[in-house]
């Protein structure tokens, strides 16, 4: 499992800036929004937390279909399924490597981008905290979606369609935490809920993911 994780990380580095691209997409979405809604600070400041969370979510989304697609195409997936590691472990390792290549860098860089959107000063630390707690859930849910659609042509869009509704609770609590942070009202409740979602996802979804993979390999 460690071997798989290391291989996936190495592959995403080799594939040309694995870490950079998710980040770059995040950056670009955040930059596009002012072009879309206009540069007015009065408009930007209140929407900054929400936009950052939505952008992080979309950036995570865009790299989801690669989680299993490459291994499926070159035939690694059936080989992993018959290897002496449990398929649940494969699912978990894939989610973790997606988080390391996408969620983690996103989390680190989000405060910087908050700045471009004139985010309220009090919100920075909560942005960081909510993304740190919530991004792993995004990766795990995404891995589940990727397992459902592996092997389907045009899987990319279908995958988004399946995964986005599942992302909604995480997004709501995460963005809410940051907004409350910006207001100065209590952030504990939403932050805790984000944490609970993440824990729940990691406790349950590996099994669903492995089941979906088994069905798809049949």
């Amino acid at each position: 499992m460690i071997a798989l994780l290391l291989r996936d990380l190495r592959l995403s580095v080799r594939a040309g800036g694995g870490f950079g691209l998710g980040l770059a997409f995040f950056l670009i979405v955040v930059v596009l929004v002012p072009f879309g809604v206009g540069p007015d600070r009065v408009i930007l400041t209140p929407i900054a937390p929400g936009i950052l969370w939505v952008a992080a979510l979309l950036a995570a989304l865009l790299s989801l279909d690669r989680i299993f697609a490459l291994d499926f195409e070159d035939g690694s997936l059936p080989l992993l399924a018959t290897a002496p590691i449990p398929l649940e472990g494969v699912a978990l390792s894939k989610a973790v490597s997606h988080w390391i290549t996408t969620g983690l860098p996103l989390t680190c860089v989000a405060p910087l981008l908050g700045f471009f959107l004139n985010m309220a000063p009090g919100a920075y630390v909560w942005l960081l905290a909510s993304l740190a707690l919530g991004a792993p859930a995004l990766s795990m849910i995404g891995t589940f979606g990727a397992a459902l659609t592996v092997g389907l042509r045009r899987g990319g869009l279908l995958l988004s369609l399946l995964v986005l509704p599942l992302y909604i609770p995480t997004l709501m609590f995460g963005a809410e935490a940051v907004r409350r942070g910006a207001d100065g009202s209590g952030v504990t409740a939403p932050l805790m809920l984000v944490g609970v979602i993440t824990l729940g996802c990691f406790a349950l979804l590996p099994f669903a993911t492995a089941a979906a993979l088994r069905i798809n390999l049949r």
Binding site: A3, L4, R7, R10, L11, R14, A15, D71, E73, D74, G75, S76, P78, L79, L80, A81, T82, A83, P84, I85, L217, R218
Partner: protein
């Protein structure tokens, strides 16, 4: 070591083969023959547990099987050594030096797998089998795009290293491998048009 009993298997919900039975002892191999579309790939996938049989049983020691088809789980962005090491690690083993020798990969060790020619890539795929140390092999056209020399190399490895050490193998192929093992022509086992089973059986 491998015991197949009255197996019936389907592809795309349609029964393809039925009444397939055979047994292999350690050190024995079987070559599957038959025209295109007879169901060799289907049979191998069923035996390897990648799809459920309609009926019948396949028995071999749990966790001793390996399946290999054209797609061999080779990552173009990793070198030959890295590819082999990865599969070895996944199976909790190390890469034996003999694996390189047996498939003439010495000179290619540090090449990215993506830059190999078709035949070289195939050799790397076969070397994976020497690395993971599974004893029941299911091979689907393993020698596609290999030159004659490499085919012989593969046959030697199969005879001496794999079968010689008590492994067994079922190999689907259209060419003559030069292995002295029995062949099973699947044509007589084609499922009758009205054979039972298949995903849609309940609807017939």
């Amino acid at each position: 070591m491998l015991q197949v009993n009255d197996l019936r298997c389907a592809r795309g919900g349609v029964p393809v083969l039925e009444r397939v039975s055979f047994a292999l002892n350690p050190g024995e191999a079987l070559i599957l023959r038959g025209p295109n579309g007879v169901g060799k790939t289907t049979l191998l996938r069923t035996m390897a547990g990648l799809q459920p049989p309609l009926s019948g049983t396949v028995d071999y020691p749990e966790g001793s099987d390996a399946y290999a088809s054209h797609a061999d789980g080779i990552k173009s962005a990793l070198t030959v050594t890295e590819n082999l090491t990865f599969w070895a690690q996944i199976h909790d083993r190390s890469v034996p030096e003999t694996a390189y020798a047996a498939f003439d990969l010495h000179d290619l060790r540090d090449r990215l797998a993506g830059t190999l020619s078709a035949g070289q890539k195939r050799r790397l795929g076969l070397a994976r089998l020497a690395v993971i140390g599974r004893s029941v092999l299911f091979l689907d056209e393993p020698t596609v795009s290999l030159d004659n020399f490499s085919v012989r190399m593969f046959a030697d490895w199969m005879r001496d290293a794999h079968l010689g050490q008590g492994g067994c193998a079922v190999i689907a192929t259209h060419i003559d491998l030069g292995l002295d093992v029995p062949a099973l022509d699947l044509t007589p086992y084609i499922a009758a048009a009205d054979a039972d089973g298949g995903a849609d059986a309940a609807f017939l």
